[in-house]
């Protein structure tokens, strides 16, 4: 941490340790942590776990019978119209969801943290301007705004999707950071830093920001869940990942056409995967909030 905090750096370490002790006692939080780790492991080791190649159309090798085959012992979650193994596609889909969750969160942190910090540290026109911007973005219907940004590009790449989601979700981070800065900026350690004549950027980023981290971590974790949900919605509407990417939302989108004919497995199982992942991040986020003792307005 910063030079001005050497005197309490050991206590600082203890705070995180105490939070971990509180976190460990919280059963739901631990469940969330284990669930999140399981999704991460599935994503990393997808090629070793998946029973089949997610893109391989088995109808070419195994014949027409494999097309839209219901769940069985060889295909636990059945196969899709092209004879692809649904379970294998779901396993690889974890990569897409996590990738979007992580990169879009990074974008939203890169925008939200500095803007929130500036708004919270400088009352007056800086705060007015940034708060105005936050209110403007908040007024947009989130999914529609992301759709409109994505629609600007004819063939949106994944990077466009990260950016579009990040451009909307940064406001939640910024609000949290701003509120933290407002309550911290008058504290003694900040005044001490000011009295020492330290440059403002140092005070903001090295002295105040580390103390505002806990709620940012909580918000970012909870945000992962909603980002994964937004991406699923985008893909469902045909604006996210494009075929043949094994994206969960896209699988539901294509699979739904076969619901009316009774082929439910194609659209239903990916939804369970989304639910599991979103639930995981929500449990983890709630657990972190309780452990780090943050009060957030949601």
């Amino acid at each position: 941490m910063g030079t001005g905090e050497n005197n309490n750096s050991s206590r600082h370490g203890n705070l995180w340790y105490e939070a971990w002790l509180r976190f460990r006692r919280n059963r739901l939080a631990m469940v969330g942590l284990i669930m999140v780790i399981s999704v991460i492991l599935i994503a990393i080791f997808a090629p070793y776990i998946a029973p089949y190649d997610p893109l391989k159309q088995l109808i070419w090798t195994e014949g027409k019978a494999i097309k839209l085959a219901p769940p069985s012992s060889s295909h636990i979650m059945g196969t899709d119209f092209y004879g692809r193994d649904v379970l294998s596609r779901i396993i690889f889909g974890a990569r897409i969801s996590l990738q979007i969750g992580i990169f879009a969160t990074i974008v939203s942190l890169l925008i939200g943290v500095p803007l929130g910090a500036l708004a919270g540290y400088f009352p007056g026109w800086v705060d007015d301007l940034i708060s105005w911007l936050i209110n403007v973005v908040f007024a947009f219907p989130f999914i529609l705004f992301v759709l409109a940004v994505v629609a600007v590009f004819k063939n949106p790449s994944m990077i466009v999707i990260y950016l579009a989601i990040g451009l909307v979700t940064w406001v939640q981070i910024a609000r949290v950071v701003r509120a933290q800065f407002i309550s911290l900026r008058e504290r003694e350690f900040v005044e001490a830093a000011r009295a020492l004549g330290l440059p403002t950027w140092r005070i903001i980023f090295i002295h105040i920001l580390p103390n505002a981290l806990a709620p940012v971590i909580v918000q970012a974790t909870l945000g992962m869940g909603s980002i994964i949900m937004i991406e699923a919605g985008l893909a469902f509407l045909g604006f996210g990942a494009q075929p043949p990417t094994p994206s969960w939302g896209l699988m539901i989108s294509i699979g739904q056409k076969f619901l009316a004919t009774g082929h439910w497995w194609w659209a239903i199982f990916p939804g369970l995967a989304i639910m599991y992942t979103v639930l995981a991040f929500n449990f983890l986020g709630d657990g972190l909030r309780d452990a780090l003792d943050v009060r957030l307005k949601r």
Partner: protein, 308 residues
Amino acid sequence: MLSYIIRRLLYTIPVIWGVVTVVFLLMAVVPGDPARIMMGQRGDPETLARIRSDLGLDLPIHQQYFRFLKEVAKGDLGTSYRTNQKVSHAIVERFPATFRLAFWAMIFASAIGVTAGILSAVKQYSFFDYSAMFFAIAGVSAPVFWVGLILLFIFAYNLNVIPGVGYGEGSVLYLILPVITLGVRPAALIARLTRSCMLEVLNQDYIRTARAKGLGEKTVILKHALKNAMIPVITIIGTQLSALLSGAVLTETIFAWPGIGRLAVEALVARDFPMIRGTVIFMALIFLVANIVVDISYGFIDPRVRYS
């Protein structure tokens, strides 16, 4: 109070201006020539030039911007590239369906959410409590469109009790599934919030007093506790209603519901930019108005709130 309302309304003006500007900038960076999109491959150079000058596309960008601002201020959101219909007319035509859907979804969500929340709090740690909270957590984590598809699969395709998707000329039967789909998430949020607010209130001294003076448990819970527990719940009902109005995009798409959300998605698919602009601006406006109404209604619900 009145000065608060006026100030609140005045503050909305720069926010709306911001929304309109962001939408303008977004659509201004779109590659491609709108005149071409309108005419397809048919247009000869003269027609294209005429359309460009009609739309003001031959003007420098800042003049286009002021022109756009002026038109929006007059309530003119332009003309659809796709149908040649006035965007404002299309919105007025489609909005009632969205409102109807969101309104009933909110009624459904409040009824289920508040009932489940009260019962959960009163019978804390019971089987009912655990299962209600399990459903509440699941309801917040399930993708809306997926919930809708499951309902369709069960009730329309397998049990055949509901005809399927569409508006059905306003028939109630067609309203049921979309309402449930859209209402699941707010119902879950409301149930969780009602439960925690009730639990908090039930521990207060005045509840002990009410019980001590011999009031029946029903009176204590429904009259004394509920009134105070409802304040935060009513807030979330307000904010959720505005979220529903603008967030019905996915539900309307699944159920082929002729509302604003679907209008927007259709416009996006067709790259019908005036329509995209118009629907986004309109939804933002709805969101802002709904939020003002929620803020103002605090004062009526909770006498402790004072506006300054």
